[in-house]
């Protein structure tokens, strides 16, 4: 039998339907891998028994011949998705022990399609971070290691647990949420693929909110096609989310294997920033060449407000989060630290329950919304956001997709970039603009750096045109032929 944990989702579905192995065998193989890789700290909560039970049900359906689209596929669920009766923490102390009495719409759709949940994947606390070092339950370690030093590397964030689990062959795919790059940046750091669909494509119901106008669910997996298979299950209209868009979900996998002949690929010149990592710029050029070789037409485009996207993001996301996180007050669920009176209880609870990064963002958000600063900060940022959005609309008059790098660096060592919050924020510089504009974006592994670490390229598309991104991503993926394995797995393979 093949090494089950190295299969793609597509291949595993094939094997399951041909009865080459069972869902239970597939789940056990992944559970074994997870146990062997516990030092990576991918999960806040392991749900192996739950996975075994789900796999058993999958097997029963395969036996009866009525298997579902993703029946038996073991996945990791970002611990921002509320899962009924299963601890959901957002990697925060303030939600330790919280068991939601409901299931998020996206996770419930995936379970309806037969997915098997191995565990709740760690993230930066409340999805605020780019390194997975702000989790209350310990750092996640990237399965990749640099050839230049022997330090543990960050998996990126906030979806670092999800990305590390998929890269380390612990899970075949994982759910993520992307507010400013939390699916795409960790995918790039961990050498896997990940897509943030158009804002409104996936329901936010039951997903713990960070910044409501930006948060969007999406999958990570090892191939573009696997992402397409997972997104098909995750996407769809939900009447319980007022920002969920009611339009049919295409068969994304059908976009795989198509040609990009004549496709207009835009290259935004503002992404070539001063002091950019030359290796990454070279990789980008290579990607452009590959698209051209595949028959695409390369178009120079301008997104003039790109350089203000991060600034806009760091007003709007904290503003929304300061309000979204007000509900964590120790009254109805979660941590309560007793105080002398109610206000004392609130303040102690929130001081003990939130980590430093979350506090920083709540304070910034509270400040920019407070009397006297609203117009200077919050309203100003909302206006610039409109300009950023307009940039994309204008660019898409000239091209069908945009090709850019995903992140400005490779995975860095745990503990780096923590002195100054702004340095850490720069990680999202290439991913944030599309978040502000609500545009879909996919990251795929496109090569290795000189010190052996994965580098990602990003394809951004028009609203609700994920299919074109998948087509272009698949072509690029095949041209790149990325087959490197994290060093920790090289022996095993």
């Amino acid at each position: 039998m093949a090494n089950l944990t190295h299969l793609t989702i597509k291949a595993a579905l094939d094997g399951l339907s041909k009865k080459e192995f069972t869902a239970t065998e597939l789940a056990e193989a992944h559970i074994t891998a997870a146990e062997a890789a516990r030092h990576l700290n991918c999960f806040v909560t392991e749900t192996f028994d739950h996975a075994r039970a789900q796999a058993k049900e999958s097997d029963a359906r395969y036996a009866k011949g009525d298997a579902k689209p993703l029946d038996g596929i073991p996945i990791a669920m970002k611990d921002l998705y509320c899962t009924k009766g299963i601890q959901t923490t957002a990697s925060s102390k303030i939600l330790e022990g919280f068991k939601p009495p409901y299931e998020s719409t996206v996770s419930s759709q995936m379970f309806d399609d037969g997915c098997v949940m191995l565990g709740k994947a760690a993230l930066d606390e409340f999805a605020m971070g780019s390194s997975n070092t702000t989790s209350a339950y310990g750092n996640v370690i990237n399965p990749w290691r640099s050839t230049a030093h022997d330090k543990d590397l960050v998996p990126g964030g906030s979806g670092g647990g999800s990305a590390a689990a998929v890269a380390a062959r612990i899970a075949m795919g994982a759910t993520g949420t992307d507010t400013g790059g939390s699916i795409r940046q960790p995918a790039a750091f961990c050498g896997i693929a990940g897509i943030k669909p158009t804002y409104g494509r996936c329901s936010r119901f039951g997903i713990i909110a960070f910044a409501s106008s930006l948060d969007q669910a999406g999958p990570t997996a090892r191939t573009v096609e696997d992402c397409a298979l997972l997104l098909k299950s995750m996407a769809g209209h939900d009447p319980k989310d007022s920002t969920s868009v009611n339009r049919p979900v295409p068969d994304y996998a059908a976009a795989i294997g198509k040609s990009v002949k004549g496709l207009k690929v835009g290259v935004p010149r503002e992404y070539r920033m001063d002091g950019a990592n030359p290796e990454i710029m070279a990789l980008w050029d290579k990607g452009v060449e590959m698209m051209k070789d595949a028959g695409a037409e390369i178009v120079d485009v301008s997104l003039p407000h790109t350089k203000y996207a991060l600034q806009t993001y760091y007003v709007i996301a904290p503003a929304e989060c300061s309000s979204n996180l007000a509900r964590y007050d120790g009254v109805r669920y979660g941590l309560r630290v007793p105080g002398d009176n109610l206000i004392d209880t609130y303040e102690k609870t929130r001081a003990a329950g939130f980590g430093d990064e979350v506090k920083r963002r709540i304070l910034i958000g509270t400040y920019v919304l407070s009397a006297g600063y609203y117009d200077a900060y919050y309203n100003k940022a909302r206006k610039v956001r409109k300009l950023i959005w307009q940039d994309f609309i204008d660019a898409y008059q000239k091209c069908d997709v945009l090709l850019t790098p995903t992140a400005p660096t490779t995975a860095f060592a745990i503990g780096e970039n923590t002195q100054d919050p702004v340095t850490m924020y720069l990680n999202d510089i290439f991913t944030v603009p599309a978040s502000m504009a609500g545009m879909p974006g996919l990251s795929l592994p496109a090569g290795l750096s000189s010190d052996g670490l994965p580098l990602g390229l990003q394809l951004l598309g028009k609203p609700f045109d994920e299919e074109t991104i998948f087509t272009a991503g698949d072509v690029l993926e095949k041209a790149v032929g990325f087959d490197a394995l994290p060093q920790t797995l090289q022996k095993a393979a």
Binding site: A209, S212, S322, R332, T366, Y374
Partner: protein
């Protein structure tokens, strides 16, 4: 003239009053969740995880509440804003589960309007409406159950409220009381709020300031949650006097929130939270702007019920009622509807009299409301009909009514069963008259001798002999002839 000036040591003071009324929008379910919005349930029964502010929960607006707000706006002669925005009002309180209230701030669904209030002296005054916006209610904290703890019940959390803000157009406690009364009547006519102040479906925040007539507006204090018309009156009287005393005593009024103590009839300062005023409003990113079609507003407008002022005019003009009676009838929707149902095809004034005196008195005596009346509107109309067509006399009608009230039977049935039909047959009445005259020859002689007063005696005897059924007009007429 209802400006009630306060006489202070330094002269007269004018009271300036504005009201914010929170009216619960009549609906089955909450503004943003599918939990019941109906009053009266065990603690936390009418609560969804949305109302309790659980992680990942999202609001979805109740379309009916949008219609209700528009309907109310139209009833207040107000501008309907086709574009409005839900914003978050951020503050911490245990009965505010999300840590913010979803409300409308910069762009409310309803803009300026006005209503006419009816004052005790019979005059009217127009009071401006500043705005109406939709918002969620908070839960309820109980502070008197435990010495060190407060108990939180979220049943009310998320209930749909219409906050109706008046302009500072009122100048006396009477005007404010009349405003609340009229607003309540209009809402009940519209069917957009049950107006039940006991159950908290209507709650008033009263803004009071005082000034020397002609001066700029003074600093106002807001008295929160005053929950009856009587208390609104009391609270204003007390607060205005307090402010005058403070100012005349050399003090200054500081803008603050005060509570009305129903036991002492006084107001006191709420221990204010110094940061509480920084609500950090911003558009709720979980919701999109609320955009209405003009055709939607027009359709609601076309189906608006007749409101009390219009009804009153019609009762006076078409049905010949006095302004007083018409006013009393339209003051309560049920009363007006009862009257309208009873009056169909009957004499307007007569029905009004029967409703406002006989039925009213009987209900009061029986401690019943109009909706519990054993005599239906149709039945009351039936009774009046029998009087109008001379089937029974007004006197007999009173007995019939008593029987109707006791048994719930139709007037016609009672008249039939008891044979109370008025005798109009002149031959039969003549026969009775002859008998009476024959039986009282001495009285007849006295009458003929000039003792006119005895006419009443003969009428009484004839009526008695006929069991009260003889038509009094005919009796009179025939008696005169015979004597």
């Amino acid at each position: 003239m209802s400006n009630a000036l306060i006489k202070g040591e330094t002269g007269e003071w004018e009271i300036v009053i504005g009201l914010e009324v929170h009216a619960q929008c009549l609906s089955q379910s909450k503004l943003f969740s599918g939990a019941s919005a109906v009053f009266g349930a065990a603690p936390n029964e009418h609560v969804s995880t949305v109302d309790a502010g659980f992680p990942g929960m999202l609001p979805v607006i109740n379309g009916h509440c949008v219609s209700q707000a528009v309907k109310t706006g139209l009833g207040l002669n107000a501008k309907i804003n086709l574009h409005s925005v839900f914003e978050r009002k951020n503050y911490f309180y245990p009965d505010l589960p999300q840590g913010y209230q979803i409300s409308q701030y910069q762009h409310p669904i309803v803009g300026e309007g006005e209503i006419e209030i009816d004052l005790p002296d019979g005059s009217t005054k127009v009071i401006g409406i500043e705005r109406l916006h939709l918002e969620q209610d908070a839960g309820k904290s109980l502070h008197d159950q435990h010495p060190q703890k407060s108990f939180v019940d979220l049943n009310r959390s998320g209930n749909p409220l219409m906050e109706i803000v008046s302009k500072p157009d009122m100048r006396s406690a009477d005007e404010a009381a009349a405003y609340v009364t009229k607003l309540r009547t209009i809402l009940r006519y519209l069917g957009t709020c049950d107006g039940n102040m006991d159950e908290g479906s209507m709650r008033c925040d009263v803004n009071v300031s005082v000034r020397k007539p002609g001066d700029e507006l003074g600093t106002r204090c807001e008295i929160k949650n005053v929950n009856s018309v009587r208390f609104v009156h009391q609270a204003i009287e007390h607060e205005a006097r307090r402010q005058v005393e403070v100012i005349e005593g050399g003090g200054e009024i500081k803008q603050e929130t005060r509570l009305f103590d129903t036991k002492s009839g006084t107001t006191r300062s709420m221990r204010s939270k110094e940061d509480a005023h920084d609500y950090r409003y911003f558009p709720d990113p979980d919701l999109l702007p609320l955009v209405l079609e003009q055709s939607f507003v027009d359709a609601i407008n076309d189906n608006l019920p007749e409101l009390p002022d219009a009804k009153k005019k019609r009762f006076i003009g078409d049905l010949g009622l006095t302004p007083y009676d018409a006013g009393v009838l339209v003051a309560e929707k049920e009363r007006a509807y009862f009257y309208e149902f009873a009056v169909k095809g009957r004499d307007g004034k007569l029905v009004a009299n029967w409703l406002l005196t006989e039925l009213w008195g009987a209900l009061n005596k029986a401690e019943k409301t109009l909706s519990e009346s054993p005599v239906s509107a149709e039945q009351l109309g039936g009774l009046v009909g029998l009087i109008s067509d001379n089937t029974i006399s007004g006197r007999i009608a009173k007995d019939v009514f008593a029987e109707m009230f006791a048994t719930g039977k139709d007037a016609a049935v009672i008249v039939d069963e008891k044979g109370l039909k008025q005798v109009t047959d002149t031959g039969a009445i003549e026969k009775v008259i002859d008998e009476v005259l024959a039986a009282n020859p001495d009285k007849v002689a006295e009458y003929k001798g000039g003792k006119d007063k005895l006419f009443g005696f003969f009428v009484g005897q004839v009526m008695k002999q006929s069991g009260g059924k003889a038509n009094p007009g005919i009796v009179n007429e025939l008696l005169k002839k015979k004597l």
